[in-house]
């Protein structure tokens, strides 16, 4: 166990250090969510006046939840980019040789991704509150929202790690990014599910991210919601993708 923790600690420390000290990694992670928040909450606020749009905390809070979950997911995807980059530079292969417990490598990257999501999420919260976002949920609700975001981050990290371990090249970036992007945008992004039209409404109804996004919105506005469904799905995703990631790690080991 101590060997697992040692590897986890070392990989997490290195990844967090690289993220926080290299502006090329740090600033895009911060700027993108802020930009999406600005573009969606600022540019589309009139959508909150559409008949049938009834969200008590207002359009800014409505969009904030989506952007927070999106930032958490992309924190995981960017960690996948980092893993692929480590393979391209040869560092990951040396790491596989040197690590006494290789599962610790995956855990280390996952811890770094969670830390990254916490940093970005905290900044996003600060900016949203400073720009007048109304939060009508209580402290427990907000804690629940943060847990949802971290579970989404874990799911995206494990998915992207699975791809990175299998392909071991940064050229697989779109294979990590596009599925996450598409699944996120096939949830009710701009309006509640009832107001989403066409084929996206049909897809959104079966998209697990829909329940997570709507659960997050209910939490920030203090409304009652099917917590078991939202948290159950948010927990099931990282569990499912952990098998994908571990099998990917085994393939990377076998590839040498």
């Amino acid at each position: 166990m101590s060997r697992f923790l040692d590897v986890t600690h070392a990989v997490a420390w290195r990844t967090i250090h690289n993220f926080t000290t290299n502006p090329a990694f740090f600033f895009p992670s911060i700027i993108f969510p802020l930009f999406f928040f600005t573009a969606f909450a600022g540019g589309l606020s009139n959508v909150g006046n559409v008949p049938g749009f009834d969200f008590p905390a207002g359009y800014t809070a409505f969009q904030f939840v989506f952007v927070l979950l999106q930032a958490a997911a992309f924190g995981g995807v960017f960690t996948g980019f980092g893993i692929a980059s480590d393979f391209e530079k040869g560092f990951a292969r040396r790491l596989l040789l040197g690590a006494p417990n290789r599962l610790g490598i995956l855990a280390g990257y996952a811890v770094a991704a969670v830390t990254r999501a916490l940093i970005v999420g905290a900044l996003l919260f600060a900016v949203a509150l400073l720009t007048g976002m109304r939060v009508t949920g209580d402290g427990v609700d907000l804690f629940g929202l943060i847990v949802l975001a971290l579970l989404v981050n874990a799911a995206a990290t494990l998915f992207a790690a699975g791809v990175a371990f299998r392909t071991r090249t940064i050229q697989a970036g779109p294979a990590m990014q596009m599925p996450v992007f598409i699944v996120l945008f096939l949830a009710p992004v701009f309006v509640p599910l009832d107001l989403v039209g066409g084929w996206v409404h049909t897809v959104a109804q079966v998209n697990p991210i829909t329940a997570i996004v709507e659960g997050g919105r209910d939490l920030i506005s203090g409304q009652s919601f099917p917590a078991r469904v939202a948290f159950g799905l948010a927990l099931a995703l990282p569990i499912a993708f952990s098998f994908w990631a571990v099998r990917g790690l085994r393939r990377a080991e076998a590839a040498g």
Binding site: G43, V47, V50, G52, V196, V200, H201
Partner: protein
């Protein structure tokens, strides 16, 4: 070989380079269409906002791929130029009697060819999904022309950055910035319906708003001469300025010593 022949050779090279790399063809066509298909359904409720200029959000939003595809054109042109710098192709070219401009014009013609076919795909997708095209049959060549002109402007910007930096990574780095310009415009709602004053102000000063509105006017309004004059005028101005900058950067790269 005549200058036109040189341009033709360079354009052929650019087109073949593009066609041989699906990653340079598929994203500019598929990604904007996918995004507009999702947004059109997600934001269809916005048509209920009083004063919204179209009955269907699809009709309103199908203009966006024309501009978004142009952003990919910028990246493709910039990356191709940067690769020519990185691989030493431009230095070898400097030792030949080839006209400098043949390389730049040829490269841009290649990108515009992709933009031309992308515009046709966007139109076909638009009509297939029931687009109500208000400007009629003559509007089709007009919208393709404007789409290609916009692509030329952005491609010239990409070429300038590729030539100045000589780095593919630097070109990729401007992609988010171009996306900022796209999203901080009237791309999702008409400017008069943007509620936040600060956002409306940014969208009003953002030239991308007028490019989108020029394309959009042909679809949802008909022949709106003011929107078209602004769209064509700004696209021409961006293309002229960016081409001048790119030509200057190429001159610097090709200094014969």
């Amino acid at each position: 070989m005549s200058t036109l022949g040189q341009i033709g050779q360079m354009a052929r090279r650019s087109i073949l380079q593009t066609l041989r790399q699906p990653a340079m063809v598929i994203p500019p066509v598929v990604f904007p269409l996918l995004l507009v298909a999702i947004n059109a359904a997600g934001l269809d409720a916005a048509t209920k906002i009083p004063g919204f200029p179209a009955d269907s959000y699809w009709d309103f939003a199908i203009a966006v791929p024309f501009i978004q595809g142009s952003l990919f054109a910028a990246i493709n042109a910039g990356t191709a130029m940067a690769r020519d710098v990185e691989t030493g192709f431009i230095k070898r070219l400097a030792m030949t009697p080839m006209q400098r401009m043949a390389l730049l014009i040829g490269q841009l013609i290649g990108v515009m060819t992709v933009a031309f076919f992308s515009a046709i795909v966007y139109l076909v997708a638009g009509f297939a999904a029931g687009m109500d095209f208000k400007s009629g049959a003559l509007g089709v060549p007009a919208i393709i022309l404007l789409g290609v002109l916009v692509a030329l402007g952005f491609a010239a910007i990409g070429a300038y950055i590729g030539l100045r930096s000589g780095s593919g990574e630097a070109v990729q780095g401007i992609f988010p910035l171009l996306f900022v310009f796209l999203f901080l415009s009237s791309v999702n709602l008409p400017r008069n319906l943007i509620e936040q004053d600060w956002f409306r102000t940014i969208a009003t000063y953002n030239p991308v708003s007028y490019l989108v509105e020029g394309v959009r006017s042909l679809i949802i309004t008909g022949w709106d001469w003011e929107a078209l004059a602004l769209g064509f005028g700004l696209a021409t101005a961006i293309a002229a300025i960016a081409f001048g900058l790119a030509a200057g950067a190429l001159r610097t790269r090709l200094i014969r010593t």
